[in-house]
Symmetry: C2
Subunit: 475 residues, 2 copies
């Protein structure tokens, strides 16, 4: 069947599909499925399907394909760009993977684990640990985010510097394509050059080219010892020199290299005083350096020698080395509490951007003055500096509220994104496009790439049923 | 223009195109362009174009697109599966990137280098070294293979275990798509989630979806110290246990883990006696373990402690540790001379396969007896064990020649590939599909993936001008 437009997932369609599936697969839409963490959108949906296996997923997709009904794949609902929610258009069917949670198999000697799309990240991490292995994907929402969504959005997080983005952790996929056909691609191979890499095409396509139902994931040896240091630096530029030094000396052992700005510490002090401040005087900039080493390597002297060297070169002016696991956890608590402190303050506009590494300092220097031309703001700039990924968030001055600046929001976003784009950066480093940034993609995306994306979407999903309106705006 | 079939690159087309391009861009086809390393095919071509920049490439592709003339992109000509040669069909235009050799820029502090597609791999390695960095892609043909071809085929080589396949070394691409549009995608970002990953779609597509003209490549810190050991193991299974032990103790520092079989040593002794045999009695199996460590880590005691542990556990029965760079080079000479020894002997059939790591021993155990049902052969099984990638090559018995077995060649290939496929492996681990393995792809490829590949090809290259007949057979 071909259709000129999508049909709503109405009661009749739900009833017909319900009859084809085991009882309890199709359910009324609970409110939780129709909201999202930023509270920007309210979703519409004609029903939610909770399949238990890939064959049921295929049956659902085939039915939607035949009836030209849209499908919004739903993982943990933690996405920050509205990829999991359709605020308008004909009501879609939500397809939640939450009942496909199993770890199908693990192969510790191969460093491989096969997880279903509905498995929660923390459970996958635990399953790996249970085999004395590490699954390194780690981010704030790991207690509720599900593998399928994390892969569909090519999630980032804190360990990208060492282990790569989510896409780099995937050896194979099982997925249902928009026509309802199942791709049995759960390979456990490190090398496989047999045609186009459909895996990488689905990873990061945010559910617009198919539904990921399971993945074979790369595991790593666990670190024998781990350590962390909080290091005061004079500037982002000094932080980058420190990174280069640390990489030369600790190549392959640095798990995270996080930038924390003084504004973040101030927000913490203001809204979460229970989080202990690391230094008596909050520094303008500091870095959280985290590392892990295998057996046979003595971490403390290695770390100390790097820091001594950095101190001698004037790259760090003060620092704390975690003396034990509890102290390392304390350092991380500071870093991980900043997003919560941000929510307490209430940002006017948040930006998940990346830049060529060496351009990060220039961006930070230029963005502040440019924003000041729009108005007076507080800026909390922090994030995964090792990946060139900043969370560059703009807040009202004390005494003002985000509502006071609502009218400036678009101007702020455009100001930040224009500068990022002019410097060769990305306006979505790790969160994806979803429905929040479709306009940004059109504005900043390479036209040839966009044309190719549209051609691929039309080829694989001519009806346009898969996550309609995400990544590519509906025309 | 749409066409029902491709037109030959005839004298008229060449003349028209020649008039649009700087003198010397279009040339008659020298014989070297029409042969390939395996000597299996003789190519046809109506001319060769040697553009000097991406705009000239775009002009050439647009002209071919308009005239429905096929294009075969040509790099170093080192491919082993006939991806660079069109043996039949309407004569295509060869598009050689050999005059686009420059290193456009390097950013050592970012660990990034931008190379044009025609740059020879060894030159890119040297450019990285010049910045005190490492570009880790390394394989036998590095003195003549060019970056564009290496990326288009997602080349593998000896350092995949540590640094990944060619695709993992690419941050961004510049490419000309089949309609002649230029994709300006030379980003230098570690995180960029702005739509479908066109980069990974082109990487490994073997020139069938576009022409890569330049790439931004990931560099790494150079190792401060390097070491190697040749280790005698009882079996491939013991070799894999050794790998697991070494990974736990040397995580992230093992650069290569190569399997060498007794037959390879025997072939060396027979055909290349100048290569010194490492052990008085050639062992049935041995492993070449190569590692590199950053400054601050003392390599010799670390390696010794791993080997002592492996010895205690009975995983290795004998071994040599390279005492200096010359000895390490000697170890590598043994490994790298085996393909040449193979050529002297003359294989009946060669197989570039990969398997789930833990299934490698079972494959080796089963494949020999199955082949014996076809005839009596010598088998040289060696390769990148750390990646599950074996070069499983079948040779005549002494006194027989490959010609004696020509009639069994297909049966041998099918026997090996059927077993690989049944065990979840790949019939092309690192060489690609080219024109040699299009039938294998049809036989073993997942039907849903194949359908998606055909849909993508038709969407991006409806006329079918890009490397016609490679990967997907012409219909």
């Amino acid at each position: 069947m071909t259709c000129s437009q999508l049909n709503a997932c109405d009661a009749g369609f739900v009833a017909r599909l319900d009859a084809e599936l085991p009882r309890g697969t199709l359910r009324p839409v609970a409110a939780g499925y129709l909201s999202e963490p930023r509270g920007r959108w309210q979703g519409v949906a004609g029903g939610v399907a909770l399949p238990r296996n890939v064959d049921e997923v295929a049956k659902i997709v085939r039915a939607c394909h035949a009836a030209c009904v849209g499908i919004v794949p739903y993982g943990g609902g933690t996405g920050l760009v509205g990829g999991q929610i359709a605020p308008d258009g004909p009501a879609p069917l939500l397809l939640s993977l939450e009942r496909m949670q199993s770890i199908r198999a693990s192969y510790p000697s191969e460093n491989v684990l096969i997880a279903e799309a509905g498995a929660i990240l923390a459970d996958v991490q635990a399953a790996a640990e249970n085999e004395d292995r590490l699954f390194p994907l780690s981010l704030a929402s790991e207690g509720s985010a599900r593998i399928g969504g994390l892969l569909a959005t090519n999630a980032g997080g804190v360990n990208v510097l060492r282990y790569g983005n989510a896409r780099d952790l995937v050896l194979g996929l099982e997925a249902v394509l928009p026509d309802g056909q199942i791709w049995h691609g759960l390979k456990r191979l490190r090398k496989d050059n047999t045609g186009y890499d459909l895996r990488h095409l689905l990873l990061g396509s945010e559910g617009t080219l198919g539904v990921i139902t399971a993945a074979s994931l790369r595991l790593f040896p666990r670190n024998h010892a781990e350590g962390a240091a909080l290091l005061v630096v004079d500037s982002p530029s000094a932080a980058l020199e420190l990174l280069a030094l640390a990489q030369a000396k600790l190549s392959g052992m640095i798990s995270a290299f996080e930038l924390i700005g003084g504004m973040g510490l101030a927000f913490l002090a203001e809204t979460m005083p229970q989080v202990r401040q690391p230094f008596p005087q909050p520094p303008a900039w500091m870095v959280l350096l985290d590392l892990g080493v295998p057996d046979g390597i003595d971490l403390p002297p290695l770390l100390e020698s790097v820091l001594t060297d950095a101190m001698t070169r004037g790259l760090i002016t003060d620092g704390l080395i975690a003396q034990n696991a509890a102290q390392r956890a304390e350092f991380w608590e500071i870093r991980e509490s900043i997003p919560e402190a941000n929510r307490h303050i209430g940002s006017v506009s948040s930006h998940d951007i990346s830049l060529p590494l060496s351009d990060v300092p220039a961006f930070i220097e230029r963005a502040g003055p440019e924003l000041a031309r729009i108005g007076a703001f507080r800026i909390n700039c922090f994030g995964h500096l090792g990946d060139g990924n900043l969370h560059y968030n703009v807040f009202p001055m004390p005494g003002r509220s985000r509502a006071d600046h609502e009218h400036q929001r678009d101007a702020i976003k455009t100001c930040v994104h224009d500068l990022v784009d002019a410097m060769g950066g990305s306006v979505s480093a790790e969160h994806g496009i979803g429905r929040l940034k479709t306009g940004d993609l059109e504005r900043y995306g390479d036209p040839t790439k966009l044309a190719a994306m549209r051609a691929i979407k039309a080829a694989l999903d001519p009806v346009g049923i898969m996550n309609p309106g995400a990544i590519l705006r509906r025309v």
